[in-house]
């Protein structure tokens, strides 16, 4: 189901990130528990992942780890919170994240090796559908597109 190892899964359960701390004019880096600063939307998202019936426990850890990674990347890049996705699982237990903005939509299926995506723009001047596979490195660009932070997907 997932290529997430036991060790990775354990890490995914309580991921940590390095954050900048400003104190008395000095900037220091400190390791913090990424889950300690979850917004209510992300707390809810975590509960949604935990509650999926079709997905395995390793798939849930894998999905949660990636969601936190993308959230942290997004925060670093745009200094904004990535909206929490809608969370589902397909008939094969593959977890799907969906982001639905007023004019842009992105569905990401978190398979083992590659992520499948489908995106659509409902902009009146440029309605466009796209689907395919997406390398892990390119997910951040898809998220920037769906949230309106970039023009291209």
């Amino acid at each position: 189901m997932s290529n997430c190892t036991e060790a990775e899964a354990a890490t995914a359960a309580r991921p940590s990130v390095r954050v900048k701390m400003v104190s008395s004019g000095q900037i220091t880096l400190r390791q913090v528990d990424a889950t300690s600063s979850l917004t209510p939307e992300y707390e809810h998202a975590r509960g949604c992942i935990d509650g999926l019936v079709r997905a395995s426990e390793s798939a849930k850890h894998y999905a949660w780890r990636w969601l936190l990674t993308w959230r942290n990347q997004f925060r670093s890049r745009f200094n904004e919170e990535l909206p929490a996705p809608w969370i589902f699982a397909d008939e094969n237990g593959v977890i799907e994240f969906e982001w639905h903005m007023p004019l842009r939509h992105l569905v990401l299926s978190l398979g083992d090796e590659v992520f499948e995506y489908s995106s659509r723009s409902e902009a009146p001047e440029r309605r466009a559908d796209e689907e395919g596979t997406c390398a892990i490195d390119h997910v951040a660009d898809k998220l920037a597109w769906v949230t309106g932070e970039s023009a291209g997907g």
Partner: protein
């Protein structure tokens, strides 16, 4: 003699069942949404016509473990975008009465099928529309 079937008008309301807990979600504000790819099925995507079985009848006939959502025939047809997928034929929904509906376990004269599988984007548009019209949520059935 050639039998002709009247097309389903654009204003016709089409009901659809959903039941698996992983096919719908509720956000932190309590808003519900259906899974986009639920409407991208390997088998024929089907609906029930409100002109034959109105909502009250659907609520009475449908097992309680299923939720009921709907969209109009125009919304279903409008999920097709010729500019995005010019090689696809337009979406349509056609009457397909059943002598025996395996889900309802009775004959189903309101049954209708979509003419082809939906693309992922089309399925997303159908999920957008049906998520706006959820008439009943599934009851959670516990075993035992």
């Amino acid at each position: 003699m050639i039998e002709t079937v009247a097309p389903i008008p654009d204003h016709e309301i089409l009901f659809h069942f959903f039941g698996h807990p992983d096919d719908y979600a509720v956000d932190a504000q309590g808003k519900m949404r259906l899974r986009s790819h639920k409407f991208r099925t390997s088998h024929e995507l089907s609906f029930n016509r409100a002109s034959i079985w109105p909502l009250a009848e659907m609520l009475r006939l449908t097992p309680r473990q299923f939720g009921i959502c709907s969209l109009t025939a125009a919304q279903l047809r409008g999920a097709y975008d010729p500019a995005a997928t010019p090689k696809k034929q337009p979406l349509d929904v056609v009457p397909a009465p059943l002598d025996y509906d395996p889900l309802l376990r009775i004959p189903n004269p309101s049954h209708a099928n979509v003419n082809r599988p939906l693309t992922k984007a089309e399925a997303g548009r159908v999920a957008d529309a049906t998520s706006q019209n959820i008439h009943r949520t599934p009851a959670l059935i516990t075993a035992g």
